[in-house]
Symmetry: C2
């Protein structure tokens, strides 16, 4: 597609940064935030768990964050006369801003990304152009956040649905810039390193090849990407989307890869939306390599998963999953792949 | 306490084993299971996830398991004339049997443990004698299951509350005998081994000492046990109960330790029950050492945790927790400990 997206940065009344991403340049983004809001007195604390050798975030201030407000009080809708929101403009395409109730504070950072001004839109309803613009924004944020001193990993994700605890309905995702490499990423890297030392090969390439060869769990693919239900899926619904090229993060993708990614993401979200009569709660998680280390060991990929195991049944993480890390999946991955292919 | 508990084993109609645990011997446990139920055609499959180097259980047959039956169809109540249940006796104290919808099949095993015949009882309501009898049963099962060829770890636990997906209300727990050492246990052992190699000391002893010294997170203690909210608590409500002696599992506890454990468990469950107006969903998980290896590196302990972060608010595992393994706790551990001490 011929594209020339534009990027405009402003500051909100309390000093937080907000960035508009627009499909074309020349749109007036000068609206000011006229609210009187004091700088948020927030501080999240990193605590070290010596038993698991892992960091835990304690964010006491988040207990009072905005929780399922009525639609006409949504802080992610555009501002209207007499009703200022987090976004000063009267309309927008894609906008990113620092979270007012951040899980991570300096040197980490928590950002919100709004996908559309329409409060009732879902990701699956977005236009191809819009999804491509969201990817532009994620590429931008991955690159920018990676340059912050002390940031070690950038994690773009979307939580969708009250059933998984979403506190705002407006279509949006989040971007966490962690001041450490996360436990699951460290684990992947350890496994990939051991695999490379033992075989000389790339772990993600081998998994992708095995899935292509088995073929029974492939859901969709293109020239640059393949989507499959993993053989050992943990969640009732789980899709992995791998690039064919070994890239560490979104910022390393080329234009053709981003164009096809936008199409495939829309395709996959559409399949999820059609699987059950009601909209499915899900988590869409971008696994990216650490900012400063082992960038050749972890391949960028998207994991799209849901706790929904039937039209009216949710999977909960109980003792085995939460305490022991052993997932029990009541759905057979090959069957889930077939249903997603048919959806 | 002067005690002489009794143990009686029978077979259910489909061949599954059931064991009655009674506070005294001489109770007639000869009631037969008169149902016509065929041997369950169940098979759970272990699948290997090469990215995380972990096992996942795929148990397709569980999709159709009994889900929140009305109270008068509860399969865990004692049998009544004309209404046979999983337990043939007309009354019972504590009973353990092989799960009809097991997550683990040979060489693993899934057992159900019923805490009381009373459908509406909660753990916090049980008598001290009953809790002590439940511990007898868990000691017995840990010992017996550890002798099965191929079993590598025994995990007794209780999931409580619909909010965390419990499908049967009757007061009960479960015992999983895994045919592998679980990921979180392997992780603990790796960390404990590195700590021993670096310092010559026991990791759990050092954590317990640090919590005793800090004192701010201790909730209850005795001669043989200490309960505390861990410094880096992942869950809004989280309690760890450590024995003062380095023991690998429940079967290694002596009588005095078991007696005090029963008192402290009741005390802790009572505090949890009094914290919020409605009964709190929770998971109670016994971390035990592997059956065959590293028994000197992992100390037995109980983790009692809840997703409840307020009277009407639940914590959900979203993107950060589910995809990255980074927990964000909105409650400050020292404050949670204070509230539990005051409860």
């Amino acid at each position: 597609m011929a594209r020339s997206p534009a990027r405009t940065t402003i500051r909100l009344a309390d000093g937080r940064e907000l960035i508009y991403f627009d499909g074309r340049s020349g749109i007036d983004r000068s609206s000011a935030d006229l609210r009187h809001i004091p700088p948020a007195a927030v501080h999240s604390e990193l605590r070290f768990d010596p038993i698991f050798d892992e960091w835990v975030i304690v964010a006491g201030h988040r207990q009072s964050r905005t929780h399922l407000p009525p639609g006409d009080e949504c802080p992610l809708c555009p501002s209207q006369p007499g009703r200022p929101t987090e976004i000063p403009a009267a309309d927008y395409e894609v906008v990113v801003f620092e979270n007012r109730f951040p899980s991570l504070t300096h040197p980490g950072r928590s950002e919100v990304i709004c996908f559309a001004a329409d409060h009732d839109a879902a990701f699956a309803d977005l236009s191809l152009q819009r999804v491509r613009l969201i990817l532009d924004a994620l590429v931008d944020r991955t690159g920018s956040l990676s340059t912050i001193d002390g940031v070690e990993q950038v994690f773009p994700f979307e939580n969708r649905g009250e059933a998984i605890g979403v506190t705002l309905h407006h279509p949006h995702g989040q971007i966490y810039a962690y001041p450490f490499v996360t436990p699951r990423t460290l684990r992947m890297i350890d496994v990939a390193r051991a695999h490379r030392e033992a075989t000389g090969r790339d772990l993600f390439e081998d998994v992708l090849s095995a899935e292509k060869q088995a073929a029974t769990r492939i859901v969709a693919d293109g020239e640059h990407w393949t989507a499959f239900v993993p053989k050992a899926a943990r969640w009732p619904i789980e899709l992995h989307l791998y690039p064919h090229r070994a890239v560490p993060d979104l910022a390393a993708l080329d234009g053709d890869e981003l164009d096809e990614l936008a199409m495939l993401q829309l395709d996959l979200h559409g399949r999820l939306a059609r699987l059950f009569p009601d909209p499915m709660p899900y988590i869409a998680a971008w696994h990216q390599a650490p900012v400063r280390a082992d960038r050749d060991l972890l391949r960028l990929h998207l994991r799209l998963f849901s706790t929904q195991r039937g039209p009216d049944k949710l999977k909960f993480l109980a003792g085995s999953e939460s305490a022991m890390g052993v997932f029990i999946n009541d759905l057979v991955p090959e069957e889930t792949a077939r249903r997603l292919r048919d959806a």
